[in-house]
C-alpha cells in the first residue's frame, strides 16, 4: 500500500524547480532524525539533493537555550544540486531559541512553520525575547504558519499509553507529516522506519509515531492554513543504483573496499575526536571483513599502533581531526622514514587549538603538506563531497601501498556529516589494487627500490632469511643500516621526496570545467568547496561570463599540468575555508598571480558570496 496515493483535495498545487528547507529546534527535538527521514523520502521522490546537519558541540545543552539549537538543511531540485542551499525558503521551527538564531537565514517572503506551544513566557525569556514574536509584527516579512504542535500531538495519541513527556517529544513526526504533504514526499520509507526501528522496540510508541506522521500529513491537507502545496519534478539522474550516504560513512566504506580489493587486512588505530569518531564506530562494526579496530589511549598511540600493524603486513589506518593530527605528526615522520604504507584520515574542523569542533574548515592543508620535522613530504588527497569520500579513501590506500608511504586524506566536518545520493560503484569496476610482500632473499636489500615507483620492498616479519632492522635514524641507501654520512643523508632526503613526487604518475591531469583553452577567470578549488564553486561557476557561465573551474583531488604532489593550466587564464581565484593556504602554494610554485578568497566562519561558502566575488574580480555589475 502506498500512502502517497492520498489525493490533495481542493488545494492548489504548484510546481517549483528547487527548494531549500531548514529544520531547527532544541537538541532534544529530533531535528537530525527528521532531517534524515526527509532526505530519504526526497531521494525516493527522485530529486537531486544535498544536506547540511548543523548541531551544537554540547551533547546536552540546557533545554531551550541558544547553545542547544540543532539544525538540518536540505536543498532538493529537479536539476543538479551542488550545495544544501544558501538561503532557506522554508524554516520549520520548534522553539524560540531556534527562531532567534535562524530567522535571519530565512529568505524574505519565505515560509515559517512554527510550533506555538513552545513559545511560553519562560522559554521566551530564556533566549531574551521581551515580547512574543508570534504576537507582534516582527514576522511580517515572512509567511507564517502557526501550529500548536504539542497540543495536536498529545490530542492525537491521548488514547495510547504513552507518557506525556515522551508523547511531546514525538511532535517532530507530526511536523514531518506536514512537510511531506507540503512537498509531496512519499511516506513509505519513514513508515517502515517507524515500524521497524521504533515499533520494534516499543509497539505503542511505534503506533504513536506512525499515527502522528499520518495525522500531520492529513492536517496539511485539510487545514485551511495551507492553501498550496508544491511538487518538485524528478531530476534527470544518471542510471545506476543509489543510496543516500554521509561523508564519514563513505570514507569508512572506501577503507573496507580497499582491504577487500587488495587482500590486505585493515587495521584502524584511533582515538575518539569530533568529527572523525563516526568512522571508528562504522569500521568497528565490520569485523566480518577482518577489520581490526583499536581505540588507543591517545592520538599518538592511534597512529603508532597503525604503523606497527603496517610493519606486520596489514594496511594501517589512523584517523583524527586537526588537534589530533598535530599530535600524530612525529609518527608520520617515522612512517615516512621507514617507508611503510599508512593512511591518515584528517576530518578537518575549525581550529586552531580546540577551535570549533563541530564546524567545518580547510585550515589543515599546510599541516598536511608540511607538518613534520625535517624534509618529510607525504602525498595528500582530498575528498570533494560526501559520496566522493569513498573513492578518495580507496585511492589513498592504493597509493600508500603502491609507493610505500604515509598518505594523508583530507575530509572536513561539512563532508563528514553532509549527505547526498551516491551512485554505488560495482565492486568489479574499482581500480585494481594489489600488494607484494617480498619473500625471496635473492639480492634482497631493505632499502632497495622499485625502478618505477622508487618504493622499497615490504617484508613481513616472520619471513625467513630476510631479517633486518629499520628505524627513524637515517638509513644508508640500499642496506638500510644506520648512516650518519652527510652525502647519504642528502641523497636519501631527495630520494624520499622524489618517490612522493612520482605519485604524479598516478594522478590524472587537471581537468577544466568550462573554457578549457583559457579565459577570463579560473577558479581553483580543493576539497569540500566543490559544490559551491560548481554552482557559482554554473551561474556565471549562464550569465555569459568566461569563468571556469578546476578542482584538485591531489594536493601533494600537484598534477603535472597544473602550472600550464593556470597560465591559460587572465585571472585565477582560489576560494578556501582558511586564510589562504593553497593560494600560497600555487603562487610560490608556479609564480602565478592567483588571488585568495577566504572565510573561516565554520560554514561552507554560499553560492551567493562566490558569485559576488566572481563579479568583483571580473568588474561586472
Amino acid at each position: 500500500m502506498s500512502i502517497t496515493a492520498i489525493t490533495p483535495s481542493e488545494k492548489r498545487r504548484q510546481e517549483i524547480p528547487h527548494v531549500t528547507i531548514r529544520f531547527v529546534g532544541d537538541s532534544g527535538d529530533g531535528i537530525q532524525l527528521s532531517g534524515d527521514q526527509f532526505t530519504s523520502a526526497t531521494a525516493v521522490a527522485g530529486n537531486e539533493l544535498a544536506t547540511l546537519p548543523d548541531f551544537p558541540a554540547e551533547i546536552r545543552a540546557p533545554a531551550g537555550s541558544l547553545a542547544g539549537v540543532s539544525g538540518f538543511q536540505i536543498q532538493f531540485a529537479s536539476h543538479e544540486v551542488y550545495t544544501p542551499g544558501d538561503q532557506p525558503d522554508v524554516l520549520v521551527c520548534m522553539n524560540p531559541a531556534g527562531l532567534k538564531t535562524n530567522l535571519k537565514l530565512l529568505r524574505p517572503g519565505g515560509i515559517l512553520i512554527v510550533n506555538t506551544d513552545a513559545f511560553s513566557e519562560s522559554n521566551l525569556r530564556k533566549v531574551g525575547y521581551a515580547t512574543n514574536p508570534l504576537e507582534d509584527d516582527s514576522l511580517a516579512d515572512w509567511t507564517v504558519h502557526k501550529v500548536p504542535l504539542e497540543t495536536l500531538t498529545l490530542e492525537c495519541i491521548k488514547d495510547l499509553d504513552v507518557p506525556t513527556r515522551t508523547g511531546r517529544m514525538a511532535k517532530n513526526f507530526f511536523a514531518l507529516g506536514i512537510m511531506y504533504w507540503m512537498y509531496n514526499r512519499p511516506m513509505d520509507e519513514t513508515l517502515t522506519y517507524i515500524d521497524k526501528r521504533i515499533g520494534g522496540k516499543n509497539a505503542t510508541l511505534g503506533e504513536a509515531n506512525r499515527r502522528l506522521l499520518l495525522a500531520g500529513h492529513a492536517y496539511g491537507e485539510t487545514c485551511e492554513m495551507f492553501p498550496v502545496n508544491f511538487t518538485v519534478p524528478q531530476a534527470k539522474i544518471a542510471p545506476g543504483t543509489y543510496r543516500n550516504i554521509r561523508g564519514n560513512e563513505a570514507l569508512a566504506l572506501g577503507l573496507v573496499a580497499a582491504g577487500v580489493k587488495s587482500g590486505l587486512d585493515v587495521f584502524l588505530g584511533a582515538y575518539p575526536i569530533t568529527p572523525a569518531s563516526d568512522v571508528l564506530h562504522q569500521l568497528s562494526g565490520y569485523k566480518e571483513f577482518g577489520i581490526r579496530t583499536f581505540q588507543a589511549e591517545d592520538e599518538i598511540a592511534g597512529i603508532c599502533s597503525a604503523i606497527g600493524a603496517s610493519y606486520g603486513g596489514a594496511l594501517g589506518v589512523t584517523l583524527s581531526s586537526g588537534p589530533g593530527i598535530a599530535l600524530k605528526q612525529e609518527a608520520m615522520g617515522l612512517a615516512h622514514m621507514v617507508e611503510l604504507p599508512l593512511v591518515i584520515c584528517n576530518i578537518q574542523r575549525g581550529g586552531p587549538s580546540t577551535g570549533l569542533p563541530t564546524k567545518t574548515e580547510q585550515a589543515d592543508l599546510m599541516q598536511a603538506i608540511y607538518g613534520r620535522n625535517g624534509e618529510a613530504p607525504i602525498p595528500v588527497i582530498a575528498a570533494q563531497s560526501p559520496s566522493d569520500a569513498f573513492m578518495a579513501a580507496y585511492e589513498a590506500c592504493r597509493i600508500a601501498t603502491k609507493y610505500m608511504t604515509p598518505v594523508m586524506l583530507l575530509s572536513d566536518g561539512y563532508i563528514a556529516n553532509g549527505a547526498e545520493p551516491w551512485s554505488i560503484p560495482r565492486t568489479e569496476d574499482l581500480p585494481a589494487f594489489s600488494h607484494h610482500f617480498q619473500t625471496s632473499a635473492e639480492g634482497f636489500q631493505p632499502y632497495g627500490r622499485d625502478e618505477q615507483t622508487l618504493s622499497r620492498p615490504w617484508v613481513r616479519p616472520g619471513t625467513p632469511g630476510l631479517e633486518h632492522r629499520i628505524g627513524g635514524i637515517e638509513k644508508a641507501h640500499l642496506s638500510g643500516n644506520i648512516s650518519y654520512d652527510p652525502q647519504n643523508h642528502d641523497f636519501m632526503c631527495r630520494m624520499r621526496a622524489e618517490k612522493v613526487q612520482r605519485v604524479q604518475q598516478d594522478i590524472a591531469p587537471t581537468v577544466v570545467n568550462g573554457d578549457a583553452d583559457g579565459g577570463d577567470l579560473l577558479i581553483l578549488g580543493w576539497g569540500s568547496t566543490y559544490g559551491s564553486i560548481t554552482a557559482a561557476v554554473q551561474w556565471a557561465r549562464g550569465s555569459g561570463l568566461s569563468v571556469s573551474h578546476a578542482h584538485l583531488r591531489w594536493l601533494n604532489p600537484l598534477p603535472a599540468n597544473l602550472g600550464e593550466v593556470l597560465r591559460r587564464y587572465k585571472r585565477v581565484m582560489v576560494p578556501e575555508i582558511n586564510l589562504g593556504q593553497l593560494v600560497h602554494l600555487v603562487r610560490s610554485k608556479y609564480l602565478v598571480d592567483a588571488r585568495p578568497l577566504n572565510q573561516v566562519r565554520g560554514q561552507p561558502f554560499s553560492v551567493g558570496e562566490l558569485v559576488k566575488a566572481i563579479k568583483q574580480m571580473l568588474e561586472v555589475a
Binding site: A257, F289, S305, I424
Partner: protein, 338 residues
C-alpha cells in the same frame, strides 16, 4: 596452523647482527644484550618470528644488534607500535626494549595502557636511573635530590617505583633482575617469554658514565646476599644465606632474624599467582637500607590477552555473516534509476 614448527638448533651467535655495538665501554647494556641473545638461542621460536621494537635512548639501540626483525621507533612509543603489531600479527613473538626515561616519562601513557590490555608483549625496561643518550639529566627513577646537569641543586622529583607502577596498571607479569647476574637475568627473560600476556621486566643496568654505581648498595659482592631477596614462587622469602626472612608483624612487612626474633614458619611464602596484587606490591616496595631489594618474578597471573579476544571477536563475526562487499555497499535503502 597446528603443524609442528621445526626449530633449528641455535647458538648465541645466530642472534648477533653484523652491526658494531656502540654503547660506551663498560656499559651494562653489553651484558644484557649477551644474556638476551643467549636466552633467544634456547627458546623454541624460529629466529624470523622474533621482533624487537624499541623507542629512543641508549637501550633502544638494542634491536640493531640482534639479528632478528627489529624496529627502532620514536621516543616513548614502542609499546603502542608493538601493540598494533601484535594485534595484527599474533603469531609473532614481540619484544619491547626500553629505558626508564623512554618507558616511564615520555612513554608512560603507552606503557600503562599496554599493561592493562595484556597484549602478549615482552617488555624489557633497562633502568639506569639517568638519561644517558642526552648526556646525563635525572630520570623519573632518579632519587630525590639527585644532582645532574639539569638539577645542579638537586632534583625535586620523587621517583617512580617501576614495578609498583606496573602492578598499579594491572600488569599480569612483573619481574626484576640486573645486568650483572647473567644466570638470573637469563632465567627471568625466559620466564617472561613463557608468560602469556604482557611481561614487564625491570633490569637494573649500570651507566658507568653518568650514574656509575647506582645499584652497588645491593649488587656488590659483600652486601649482595644481605641486600637482595631472591623471590621464587612457592618458596619462603628468606635471604642472607637463610638467616633472615620477610615476616608480617602488625600488618607490615619486617625483616625477621631466624632463630632470634622469628622462626621459618613465620616467614612469608611467595605466591606470584595471587589474584590480589597487594602482596606483589609490598614486595616491589622493599628497598635498602631497611630491606633487601626483591629480585625475581613478583607476579605472574594468567588472563586472556587482547589479541586473543580481538581475533575471537573477528572469528565470531565471520561465523555470523560472510564478508560481502557488494552487499555492504548496498546496505540500507537503495533505489535504481534506469
Amino acid at each position: 596452523m597446528s603443524a609442528p614448527v621445526e626449530i633449528p638448533k641455535y647458538t648465541k651467535a645466530d642472534f648477533e647482527s653484523d652491526q658494531d655495538v656502540r654503547w660506551c665501554p663498560g656499559c651494562g647494556d653489553y651484558a644484557i644484550l649477551s644474556t638476551v641473545q643467549k636466552a633467544l638461542s634456547t627458546l623454541p621460536v624460529r629466529k624470523e618470528n622474533h621482533v624487537f621494537v624499541s623507542g629512543i635512548g641508549c637501550s633502544s639501540r638494542f634491536p640493531y644488534y640482534v639479528s632478528t626483525y627489529g624496529f627502532h621507533t620514536i621516543h616513548g612509543r614502542a609499546p603502542a607500535i608493538a601493540s598494533g603489531l601484535k594485534a595484527s600479527r599474533p603469531d609473532l613473538t614481540v619484544w619491547v626494549v626500553t629505558g626508564d626515561g623512554d618507558a616511564l616519562s615520555i612513554g608512560g601513557n603507552h606503557l600503562i595502557h599496554a599493561l592493562r590490555r595484556n597484549f602478549d608483549l615482552k617488555i624489557l625496561m633497562f633502568n639506569n636511573r639517568i638519561y644517558g643518550l642526552t648526556k646525563g639529566q635525572y630520570s623519573p627513577t632518579s632519587e630525590l635530590g639527585k644532582k645532574t646537569k639539569s638539577t645542579p641543586l638537586g632534583s625535586l622529583d620523587y621517583p617512580f617505583n617501576p614495578l609498583a607502577l606496573a602492578l598499579g596498571a594491572g600488569a599480569s607479569f612483573v619481574a626484576r633482575s640486573m645486568d650483572t647476574d647473567a644466570k638470573h637475568l637469563g632465567d627471568i627473560v625466559t620466564t617472561a617469554w613463557k608468560h602469556k600476556g604482557t611481561s614487564f621486566v625491570e633490569i637494573f643496568q649500570n651507566c658507568n658514565i653518568f650514574n656509575d654505581g647506582a645499584f652497588t648498595s645491593f649488587t656488590e659482592k659483600p652486601v649482595r646476599d644481605d641486600k637482595q631477596l631472591r623471590v621464587e614462587h612457592g618458596q619462603k622469602l628468606v635471604f642472607a644465606k637463610g638467616t633472615k626472612g620477610i615476616v608480617r608483624r602488625n600488618d607490615r612487612l619486617v625483616v625477621g632474624n631466624l632463630g632470634q626474633d622469628a622462626t621459618l614458619d613465620d616467614v612469608l611464602t611467595h605466591d606470584a599467582t595471587d589474584p590480589d596484587p597487594s602482596h606483589a606490591f609490598a614486595l616491589a616496595a622493599l628497598d635498602v637500607p631497611e630491606f633487601p631489594v626483591a629480585m625475581g618474578v613478583l607476579r605472574a597471573v594468567e588472563r586472556p590477552t587482547y589479541e586473543e579476544m580481538m581475533s575471537e571477536q573477528i572469528a565470531q563475526a565471520r561465523a555470523r555473516k560472510p564478508a560481502d562487499l557488494h552487499k555492504l555497499l548496498h546496505a540500507g535503502y537503495t533505489w535504481t534509476v534506469k
